[in-house]
């Protein structure tokens, strides 16, 4: 990481006012973030799965499997896969909830939703999946309607995370649970340094080579650094009303899975 980047990281984390937010390391007007993030994901949607495999060396599949195993999903459950993108979690949930269950794949970005829908249809998964274009801050669902809500690698792109958590809390049934799978802060200093080097030097180059879009992957690296760390996110979940919140670090804290219940 450059000096400039290092200096920006701690300073900008809590420096936004009511009308500003982060877009990577940039501070922007809140009203602009949705369209700017949308621009990133419209750009990467078609290469999203390939890039995920390349960037994480395929480990993202194991992180997602871990999320499924931690969800405690049962046949007949109603699941909301928020910021579900290309539908990796939806595919598994769809099989596990069975014909009496329902999975809603929601994403704010139409390009990601289209790629996800095509992929799931190609896999023959059609019966119990609904697709909804939705903003996590203003979920268009009734109160108490889902047993499980997951948001994998999506929360950091949301403009107002507290508002999104409150919105998720509202749509969860009592006894329901939220699982947030998101990049986080590595537990070990050495891993942190290696991760920084990889994120800021190698990742944008892979993005440039494969997806022909280095800037979007630069944003990805910056947005990960600006995302709240494990303890902060846990506190945010508690503040939104979730109970028995906990987190589990995966791959040395590169990713963390947060879990909270609504009672």
């Amino acid at each position: 990481m450059s000096d400039q980047q290092q200096n920006q990281y701690p300073d900008t984390k809590n420096s936004t006012s009511d009308n500003t937010t982060h877009f990577g390391y940039k501070t922007i007007d809140k009203k602009d973030k949705v369209s700017m993030v949308a621009g990133v994901f419209h750009s990467v949607a078609k290469q999203y799965d390939v890039m995920n495999d390349l960037m994480s060396f395929g480990v993202h599949r194991l992180w997602k499997r871990f999320t499924i195993d931690a969800s405690g999903v049962r046949p007949g459950n109603k699941v909301l896969d928020l910021a579900g993108g290309t539908g990796d979690l939806t595919a598994k949930f769809s099989q596990l909830v069975g014909k009496n269950g329902k999975v809603v794949l929601a994403d704010i970005n139409s390009s990601m939703l289209n790629v996800g829908r095509d992929k799931l249809r190609d896999k023959g998964l059609v019966k119990n999946i609904n697709y909804v274009q939705a903003n996590a801050q203003y979920l268009p669902f009734e109160d108490n309607s889902f047993d499980i809500v997951t948001i994998a690698f999506g929360l950091r792109n949301v403009t107002d995370k507290d508002m999104a958590l409150r919105s998720i809390y509202r749509v969860l049934k009592p006894g329901g649970r939220l699982l947030v799978l998101e990049f986080s802060k590595p537990e070990y200093e050495l891993l942190n340094k290696a991760y920084d080097f990889y994120s800021f030097n190698i990742l944008p180059k892979i993005g440039e080579l494969v997806a022909k879009d280095g800037d979007s992957y630069q944003y990805l690296a910056e947005s990960i650094r600006m995302h709240p760390d494990q303890e902060t996110l846990k506190t945010m979940m508690n503040d939104a009303g979730f109970e028995q919140t906990s987190f589990k670090n995966l791959t040395g804290g590169v990713v963390a899975l947060h879990k909270g219940y609504k009672f």
Binding site: W63, R65, I68, D69, R74, K92
Partner: protein, 202 residues
């Protein structure tokens, strides 16, 4: 995370194996049913759920219709002999939930019949497959012969040769006797030398 890698590989292996069976295997009776296996050798459960004629492997335990607690060895016995009741009586297996689900999974495993030769031929061709199979048979025969030979030699040694083998005490006794003879020879040598010397002086 290793758990998830294991589940992923196992899921792939099971579904691939099922797809290679000579006659299509119908999993309809097990649709949306889950068998959870808790093996004493592993510190995590393995749940097998069926959806749309595919087996999903996960660590989800709260959805089990049948839970089987056992060991790898007992699982092998279960697969080959279908001795479910007998194994429960012997306390080698603890089963809770719907026993039919465990029986159906066991029955699928028992009835698997895969034509490996045809499958391999699809990938590498008929002639290489034939040659490879011949080589495989030869290697298997050789290994079986060697195993039999080792077994026969081992029993021959245990039953007959072990009794004829010289024991440690016998070796010690023999060494003592050799030492004694050597000592006696030395004494005789000394005596002969003395007598020879005496004769020379007279």
């Amino acid at each position: 995370m290793l758990q998830q890698a294991f589940f992923s590989s196992l899921e792939l292996l099971i579904n691939k194996t099922l797809s290679l069976n000579t006659t299509p295997i119908g999993l309809n009776k097990l649709e949306q049913k889950t068998l959870t296996i808790v093996l004493s050798e592993l510190n995590f459960p393995i749940s097998l759920s069926v959806n749309n004629n595919k087996v999903l492997v996960s660590g989800l335990t709260n959805r089990a219709d049948c839970t089987l607690k056992t060991s790898m060895q007992t699982l092998q016995e279960l697969k080959t002999n279908q001795q479910l009741t007998e194994l429960i009586k012997q306390d080698k297996l603890d089963l809770t939930g719907d026993i039919k689900i465990a029986q159906q999974f066991a029955s699928i495993a028992e009835n698997l019949n895969i034509d490996w030769q045809s499958e391999l031929a699809l990938h590498i061709g008929d002639v290489p497959t034939h040659k490879l199979m011949q080589l495989g048979k030869k290697v298997v025969n050789k290994l079986q012969f060697s195993a039999k030979q080792i077994q026969a030699d081992a029993s021959e040694y245990i039953v007959h040769e072990k009794r004829l083998v010289v024991t440690r005490s016998q070796i010690d006794h023999f060494n003592q006797q050799v030492d004694q003879v050597s000592k006696q020879v030395d004494e005789i040598t000394t005596r002969i030398n003395q007598l020879t010397k005496g004769l020379a002086n007279t």
